[in-house]
């Protein structure tokens, strides 16, 4: 009785759309079964592997910077002696999290435009004199990674900080008395105890990263299509659905992306141990 509305919504907005997309992906516009023809079509599209490459490059840059910098910053913030200073840093780091989606991209359009940017001297020093130079195709994966890092890193820093706080004082003290320095404590004690959270962050970020859409869409609008409107896989699916009216092709891409997402998240649920499906 308490569960009925949720079951209804799970069926209507979780399972039904997935099944429907699957059906569309294996049929043509008239509903006839066509086997893997739609998949062959979208994968054979010259844009498909270009987009896979774009997204993959973006993911590599983003995940590596996320792993290295978030862990480093969490350790450093945790090392601050004054509670108040540490709290201020955490607040400053996580505030950009309020600006997700279009708002954060718009803000970064300003930052990336040398004529208005608060860091214009830096952009000039890097050789970018105009907005179109800044957003040259070669720079895009790094730019999207920076925007994503700016928005999301703070939340994870706060989470890892919490994990570090859970490490017992005695353990840290014992290590210090044994003569371990800060680096040794970080690599031998703190990192292993944070591993679970780092894995959690990586899996969620990896899955979310494959979905790249808002950033290239807005950048494409803002650059008079210097950035193509089919830069990422989700955009390509969107183009199939809305520009080519090919819902079956769009479904094929959506199903491929969905499989990646489900696989990552299912793997984490079964292997993870972070989330319990039974009462604690």
């Amino acid at each position: 009785m308490f569960i009925a509305p949720y079951v209804l919504f799970t069926l209507a907005f979780g399972l039904a759309p997935a099944v429907y997309a699957l059906v569309l992906a294996f049929t043509d516009a008239d509903g006839a079964f066509v086997g893997i023809a739609n998949f062959a079509k979208v994968i054979g599209d010259y844009r498909f592997f270009a987009d896979v490459g774009h997204v993959a490059l973006y993911l590599v840059i983003w995940l590596v910077s996320l792993l290295v910098l978030v862990v480093l910053l969490a350790l450093l913030v945790h090392g601050i002696r004054s509670r108040r200073v540490s709290a201020v840093f955490r607040l400053l780091y996580y505030i950009p999290g309020a600006l997700a989606g279009a708002s954060s991209v718009l803000l970064w359009l300003f930052v990336l435009d040398p004529s208005a940017s608060p860091v214009a001297p830096l952009l000039h020093a890097l050789g970018f004199q105009s907005f179109n130079q800044t957003i040259a195709p070669a720079n895009l994966p790094a730019i999207f990674a920076i925007i994503a890092f700016w928005t999301g890193a703070g939340g994870w820093i706060v989470v890892l900080f919490g994990a570090l706080n859970n490490i017992s004082v005695d353990v840290m003290e014992a290590a210090r008395l044994d003569g371990a320095n800060a680096v040794q404590i970080a690599t031998r004690i703190q990192l292993p105890l944070m591993r679970k959270w780092i894995a959690y962050m990586s899996v969620l970020s990896l899955a979310a990263g494959t979905q790249l859409f808002v950033e290239p869409t807005l950048l494409s609008q803002a650059s008079n299509a210097v950035v193509p409107n089919d830069y990422s896989l989700n955009q390509l699916a969107y183009q199939y659905a809305f520009a080519q009216n090919d819902f079956n092709g769009a479904s094929a891409i959506a199903v491929l992306l969905l499989i990646v997402s489900i696989a990552l998240s299912a793997l984490f649920v079964w292997r993870g141990g972070l989330f319990s499906t039974e009462d604690a």
């Binding site: 799970t10 708002s103 803000l107 979310a208 819902f247 997402s261 489900i262 990552l264 604690a280």
Partner: protein, 311 residues
């Protein structure tokens, strides 16, 4: 390690502190750490501080003046006027739509997910485990993965373009169910419910009189995440809503962007938007969330680490 430890050993606390590595290497290490912390603080904060200055300038001042100088109240008022008179007050409409979608989904989400979490945690029924695993899997998936499939479904049902086509998918929120599940299974003892049942309360009474009054913290938590996430959502409304009248602010921003000649030279026309006005639009679009965020670091951590308490 020992270079500074020789001066005094009078109390144990300072001695311990010195032994943590405040030698010459320790000091330079601290210095580098401090620089890294400050550089990243600037990285995170400068864009936000800059945009707050930007909205007080005219388009020309924005480009000519230093980035962190204040313009004038007059310019701010002019930007405000330009923003809110854009397309006969479209921004008011978008803001209203954002409120409608985010609040509508918030209410539905709470009505659906709190009882569901309760049932999963404290009652037995067939398929409970399957539902729980499904909830976990969907919760860890990026919500955007289902956007196009949901669009295709809504399109087949003829619901595309309506407010419901946004609110209903927003209200399927497995993460909220999971938060409620964790809360009810860790914070409310079975015996409390059993006692109420012994006293003759029926299942509805047990839920409304016993469990729900104790659930205020998790209601707030689910509400916070549902609201911020839906307010900031771009992809789903972008796909579902064809007309400007029904846009939420996030999607409306892209209309503003297309009307800004600085980023889209072909748009120079009667309705062209100046850069500071676009900046103001950005600020207005995030203001509600920014205010909520400033006071909710604890919420954020509780939500992101939910479930990790079990070692």
């Amino acid at each position: 390690m020992t270079t500074t430890a020789s001066t005094s050993g009078s109390t144990s606390a300072p001695a311990r502190r010195r032994s943590t590595g405040l030698g010459v290497a320790g000091w330079s290490g601290r210095g580098i750490a401090g620089v890294v912390l400050v550089v990243f603080a600037l990285f995170f904060v400068v864009p936000i501080v800059w945009v707050l200055f930007a909205v007080t300038k005219t388009g020309g001042e924005l480009i000519r003046q230093g980035p962190f100088t204040v313009g004038s109240f007059g310019s701010f008022a002019a930007n405000w006027d330009q923003l809110f008179s854009f397309q006969d007050g479209a921004v008011y409409t978008w803001f209203g739509n954002s409120v409608l979608y985010a609040l509508g989904a918030l209410v539905l989400t709470l009505v659906i997910s709190i009882p569901a979490g309760y049932a999963l945690a404290l009652t037995e029924f067939r398929g409970r485990r399957v539902l729980l695993v499904l909830t976990l899997v969907v919760m860890l998936m990026p919500s955007t993965a289902l956007v196009l499939p949901v669009f295709l479904e809504m399109n087949a049902l003829g619901l595309v373009g309506t407010a419901l086509s946004v609110i209903l998918p927003f209200s399927f929120y497995p993460f909220g169910v999971y938060l409620a599940f964790i809360y009810f299974s860790t914070s409310i003892p079975d015996s409390l419910l059993a006692a109420a049942r012994l006293d003759g309360a029926n299942e509805l009474q047990v839920f409304f009189r016993v469990a729900l009054p104790l659930a205020a913290p998790v209601v707030a938590l689910v509400g916070f995440f549902s609201f911020t996430q839906n307010w900031n959502n771009y992809f789903l409304p972008f796909v579902m809503l064809p007309s400007s009248d029904s846009y939420p602010l996030q999607v409306g921003l892209s209309t503003l962007l297309s009307s800004t000649p600085a980023f889209n030279p072909s748009s120079a026309g009667s309705e062209s938007v100046q850069l500071p006005t676009l900046a103001l639009g950005t600020v207005v679009s995030v203001l509600p969330i920014l205010i909520v965020f400033l006071f909710s670091q604890r919420f954020l951590v509780e939500g992101m680490t939910a479930g990790g308490t079990k070692e």
